[in-house]
């Protein structure tokens, strides 16, 4: 290592920065001893070295890491924290039951639908009442004429099936003030009937739900066409008509002018009941 006047400054920097080996340090010190004029320059460089200050970081406590604490909870206490979700009541149906329920639901929807249609057609019923009465009168006259044509007084029995017309309450309220003179009367011509097989009553036709006026067949309303009346009056043989009241609720059901066969409905209800009975027995 050769320190001279051209490269001494570099060695001085390395000397004050303590980057030299002990031998090199000794060489620098030897150079200063041989050239005292450079001693001041080395002293000036030494003055550029900062003396460490005693500065303390006051928040060491924030930096420390504590050992992980063992956080354990007793199982008894844990059990008190558990929450159980309430179980839902579950009903299971077999296929037959599902079909039965679906059919009942469909029937119910149909009935509601027809009820709605019947309600909405109340206004049309009001206007059509007089027309239907006229038509019924014509039906009566036509039936009467047909029986008279047979000229068989023994069978001159006109069975008039009066069918109860059940209107909805709303319809009743709508129609009651008007005191409708005629309701829809459906008549069936039963020419083959004989008096012995069918219970005959001499009562007049009764239209009970609406307190409609009662008519005897021989007192047909004025709406009956005159031609028919004339034809009937020409026949001298008095014609008696007996009203056959077959108002049995189990034969037919009328809901909002809709005729439903009660027997068919009864069959459905019977099947439905049988299904439930079966299910009950299976459950047992």
């Amino acid at each position: 290592m050769n320190i001279n006047e051209t490269n001494y400054e570099n060695y001085f920097f390395l000397y004050i920065d303590k980057e030299l080996s002990p031998a090199e340090n000794a060489a620098v010190e030897n150079f200063i001893a041989l050239h005292p004029t450079y001693a001041d320059e080395l002293d000036q460089l030494k003055k550029t070295i900062q003396a460490p200050e005693n500065i303390l970081f006051e928040h060491k406590a924030l930096l420390y890491r504590l050992p992980a604490m063992e956080a354990s909870i007793s199982s008894d206490f844990k059990n008190t924290l558990y929450k159980k979700e309430a179980s839902l009541f579950k009903v299971e149906f077999n296929n037959r039951t599902k079909v039965a329920l679906l059919s009942v639901a469909a029937l119910f929807v149909l009935l509601i639908g027809y009820q709605f249609i019947g309600t909405s057609s109340v206004s049309s019923i009001n206007t059509a009442t007089s027309n239907s009465a006229q038509a019924n009168g014509q039906n009566l006259s036509r039936t009467k004429a047909a029986l008279e044509k047979k000229n068989d007084p023994g069978i001159n029995v006109l069975a008039i099936t009066t069918k109860r017309i059940k209107f909805s309450r709303k319809i009743k309220e709508d129609l009651a003030p008007a005191r409708i003179s005629m309701a829809a009367i459906t008549m069936k011509e039963t020419a083959d009937l004989n008096t012995s097989s069918i219970p005959i009553s001499n009562e007049t036709v009764s239209l009970t739900p609406l307190d409609l006026p009662a008519y005897q067949i021989n007192q047909l309303p004025n709406e009956i066409p005159a031609s028919n009346n004339n034809k009937a009056s020409d026949n001298v043989v008095p014609t008696t008509y007996q009203v056959l009241d077959t108002e049995e609720e189990d034969k037919s059901i009328y809901i909002a002018n809709l005729e439903i066969d009660a027997a068919a409905l009864r069959g459905i209800t019977r099947r439905f009941n049988a299904l439930f009975k079966k299910n009950k027995s299976e459950n047992k």
Partner: protein, 163 residues
Amino acid sequence: MREIEFNQCVDDYANSVYRFILKNIGQVEDAQDIVQTAFEKLWVNRDKVEPLKAKSYLFTVAYHQMIDHIRKEKKLSTTDNYKEAGAKVIYQKDHELKQILLAAINELNPTQKSLVLLKDYEGYSYLEIGEIMNLSESQVKVYLHRARIFLKGKLVHLEKVAS
């Protein structure tokens, strides 16, 4: 690195890291935040950092945090404040070498200031300083020598003014 070794690092290096940062930026709260961030990163990476290299790691992280902080806060302007403060010291003809040198150091650019502080305060070698500051050994040597020449010139000049 386990908790006990980490806590030992806190005992050994927290002061020096804090001093290094505080001397560089001159703001206590920011320096504390940077130190805390440095130790937080050491804890996060404790499995990767060997205990013997923890000090170097802490200074490296703290230095880069400081550079980011200076860039964000534009702390370079504070250097001017230090210059003004140093000038006041000069004009008051305070001959205390320490204060003069402090004023002179504050006139250095951040890289040179960090080099001087790491060398003088912490006694790091050129190689270690280069690792911390992401510089080569020769770069550290050249930059540090330039800083010494600047400080020397300042000291000589002020001594002449004072005399």
